[in-house]
């Protein structure tokens, strides 16, 4: 179990992670969703023992991962920077990881290198953005660490490479279940793969629940303005728009069968809100988060 308690990360006067408490059970695929600058990378850096929190705590199975050799061996954190010497060849970097990690699967690494058509003789600094990302994915998956953290590893990958990444990740997870935390803002693409979503915005926790539940929380209600207004009263409205006498509100919180029946008999149209739209609404600057939490 990963437990964050009042976890806070500050850089000078800036608070990147603001008092987050959350428990993550082992063996699931999590999506850490947030806009750019929402604090995802800071949060993951603490989780993977790359930095100490300013206050609060992280424990993994009861122990603090920071400077904890044994725990750190079980964590792989792949981020943008790749943590590599630019002059090293891609193959040298993989060899290094293979030596460091007892759980390294060379066969999987070779298969992924072929899938992503990576040229291992190239120097890390000479790789394209997408190739660097692919190399990160090879390291992240072939490490087969009990806690695998992939921080926006798809940057620069084209749609085909991303599809290959998702497919390989799921396939290896099915064979070797482990905790995978995937940070992303391309939610639509990965939503079906995620067992739970954790959404943070401006350093604060907004949502943590299973993906299917979250998916059913948003509903758009369309109809005559006055009827819509009455129906929406007392509910959390994420967005609204009007066209002539027609009004549409996006509600958060899900409707029960009674609500639905009432809406339909009042002549209102209910449409589901896609998971990506729901995320956008929840993290839009004008939205009042306190209403949701």
């Amino acid at each position: 179990m990963i437990s964050l308690r009042d976890l806070t990360v500050r850089y000078g006067a800036t608070t990147a992670v603001d008092s987050i408490s959350v428990d993550l059970a082992p063996g699931k695929i999590y999506g850490l969703l947030g806009r750019n600058g929402s604090g995802k990378t800071s949060l993951l850096s603490v989780l993977s023992a790359y930095r100490k929190p300013s206050s609060g705590s992280v424990t993994i199975d009861g122990s603090d991962p920071f400077e904890n050799r044994e725990l750190m061996r079980d964590i792989v954190f792949v981020r943008d920077a790749l943590d590599a010497v630019e002059g090293d060849r891609a193959g040298t970097l993989l060899d290094l990881h293979a030596r460091m990690r007892p759980s390294w699967d060379a066969e999987l690494a070779a298969k992924l290198v072929a899938t992503f058509e990576l040229d291992l003789r190239k120097r890390v600094g000479a790789l394209s953005r997408g190739q660097r990302s692919s190399l990160g994915v090879v390291i992240g998956l072939a490490s087969r660490a009990p806690l695998t953290i992939l921080d926006e590893v798809y940057l620069g990958m084209d749609a085909a490479a991303r599809t290959a990444f998702y497919r390989e990740m799921l396939a290896d997870y099915l064979e070797h279940p482990r905790t995978i935390i995937l940070s992303t803002h391309l939610i639509q693409e990965v939503a079906d793969l995620l067992e739970e979503v954790v959404i943070i915005d401006r350093g604060r926790l907004v949502v943590h629940e299973d993906t299917d539940t979250f998916r059913s929380r948003g509903v758009a209600v369309t109809g005559p303005a006055d009827v819509v207004t009455v129906f929406a009263e007392g509910r959390t409205v994420l967005a609204e728009q009007s066209l002539g006498r027609t009004r549409q509100v996006t509600l958060y919180g899900g409707l029960d069968a009674d609500d639905r029946e009432r809406a339909e008999s009042a002549g209102l149209t209910l449409t589901p809100v896609g998971i990506q739209d729901l995320f956008v609404h929840l993290t839009s600057p004008e939205h009042n988060l306190e209403a949701v939490r």
Binding site: L174, L193, L194, T211, D212, R215, S216, P272, V273
Partner: protein, 118 residues
């Protein structure tokens, strides 16, 4: 395959029920394992497991420990019964509503059906 209209586990359950109703899955046929299903449709295995669990609860599937999941012998009859009950409210009444809105008379509908246009 899946959309945002309802939880994916429910959509999985519905699609398996459809297969049973159409006879694509027959009684005592083994269904795909959770992992096979997850890999095939590119979804989280927990989601697939939840869909199967619902079908077991509803008696559409049954479990054989250590082997897998199978279609219950009475699943098709049971599902047909349920769908027949819903047929008039969900399909016929809705069609009549639509007909009224667009000005198609019941007589015209009857003629269409009797004419064997399909």
């Amino acid at each position: 395959m899946f959309d945002d209209r309802s939880p994916i586990y429910q959509q999985i359950a519905e699609s398996i029920k459809d297969d049973v109703l159409r006879g694509t899955l027959k009684e005592d046929d083994q269904v795909m394992s959770t992992n096979q299903y997850a890999a095939f449709f590119q979804i989280n295995p927990a989601t697939a497991a939840k869909g199967f669990a619902q079908l077991v609860e509803e008696g559409v599937l049954y479990k054989k420990r250590g082997i897998g999941m199978f279609v219950s012998p009475d699943a098709r009859a049971k599902l047909r019964g349920q769908r027949q009950e819903r047929f008039f409210t969900d399909v016929v009444d809705r069609m009549l509503d639509e007909a009224r809105v667009i000005g198609v008379s019941v007589e015209e509908i009857k003629k269409h059906i009797d004419g064997g246009n399909r």
